[in-house]
Symmetry: C2
Subunit: 173 residues, 2 copies
DNA sequence: AGATTAAATGTTACATTATAACATTTGAGC
DNA sequence: GCTCAAATGTTATAATGTAACATTTAATCT
């Protein structure tokens, strides 16, 4: 299981996003194969659409965008695919946006924090072990048994905060 | 500004919830007075309804429950009151539930974590400074400028996990 | 007190997000 | 090729949330 690492928080301007997508899809294929679950065409297409950017995508946007490929698609079509992808840890639901984002750590641990930029709307995922350790400590101290942990931070990403010339496109992206 | 502290995570069985409510409403009144904003009857009623338990409440449940008091109430009535209460830091939106909970630290700092019990559905709020410090560190390291931070943990609370006799009612509550 | 005016609320209509329930098709394993 | 569970198709509706404009309320000024 390789890790689709991302050096830049801004895919459109600074990284080869086609590679980003193909790595994610490749990882997804291997994860599903290993687990004996089926990455069907619909599921694969939904995952690919989600990975088409590093922005969180809404379910009904996915529905619109999958219709050229799957004219029969209905809300349930999309939500079922999303449920599957979440269950397999291939995407995350961004709770504070009612939207979905590709998981950068598929097949690995699943405690992460999401940094959501209000300006470019891109979402960066971090494993942030120190934070998770502190959180686990606090939870344990209270004798709470955690099943899932969500950390979402809204603000302005480093790229968008930069006042530098030549960042204009990135900000507007 | 006093702090409505809560010694037990389970209000129904172990704490005087009437006092809990009156403290929350008292604090809210003082906070609004201080800030020169108006805690109108509708806003007060919505806040009181939210504090009627330590469970997160849905907007449309609030609507149903406020109708006997405000027969004219419509969705906008409730959502406007909720917007106001959130803006003043008197309640929190639980993103992962699309629901709302009274804030236990009104008028104070506003970085907290929410522990949401799947069994009794109560929500405990903690300020968890170590976690917040670690999170601030991670965010700063990435040069991200945070505007808001959401930490929500789902699981089983200490009370509900206890196998002890005489906790049956608490679990079922 | 009466006038002014911004804030709050009333009201209608609709947009967005999500699920239930049942029918049909597909595909893996026998 | 049969069988059965999984996946998808299909219809309908539930649940959540907002936009836009009208009316009322209440604080402030004169």
């Amino acid at each position: 299981m390789n890790i689709p690492t991302r050096t830049s928080p801004n895919p459109s301007s600074e990284h080869n996003h086609k590679q980003c997508i193909s790595e994610a899809l490749g990882t997804a294929g291997r994860v599903c194969m290993t687990r004996g679950v089926r990455l069907t065409p619909i599921r694969h297409q939904v995952l690919e659409l989600i990975w088409s950017s590093h922005k969180a995508v809404k379910a009904y946007d996915l529905l619109d965008r999958i219709k050229p490929l799957q004219p029969m698609a209905k809300p349930a079509t999309v939500y079922r695919a999303l449920d599957f992808l979440i269950e397999q840890g291939l995407i995350h639901r961004v709770e504070s946006l009612n939207a979905f984002i590709g998981c950068s750590y598929s097949g690995q641990q699943h405690e992460q924090l999401l940094l959501i930029c209000k300006r470019c709307h891109e979402v960066e995922e971090r494993s942030a072990e120190k934070v998770m350790k502190a959180l686990a400590g606090e939870i344990g101290r209270l004798a709470f048994i955690a099943h899932s942990k969500t950390i979402e931070v809204h603000g302005i990403c480093a790229k968008c905060a930069e006042p530098a010339i030549n960042q204009t496109d990135a900000r507007l992206n």
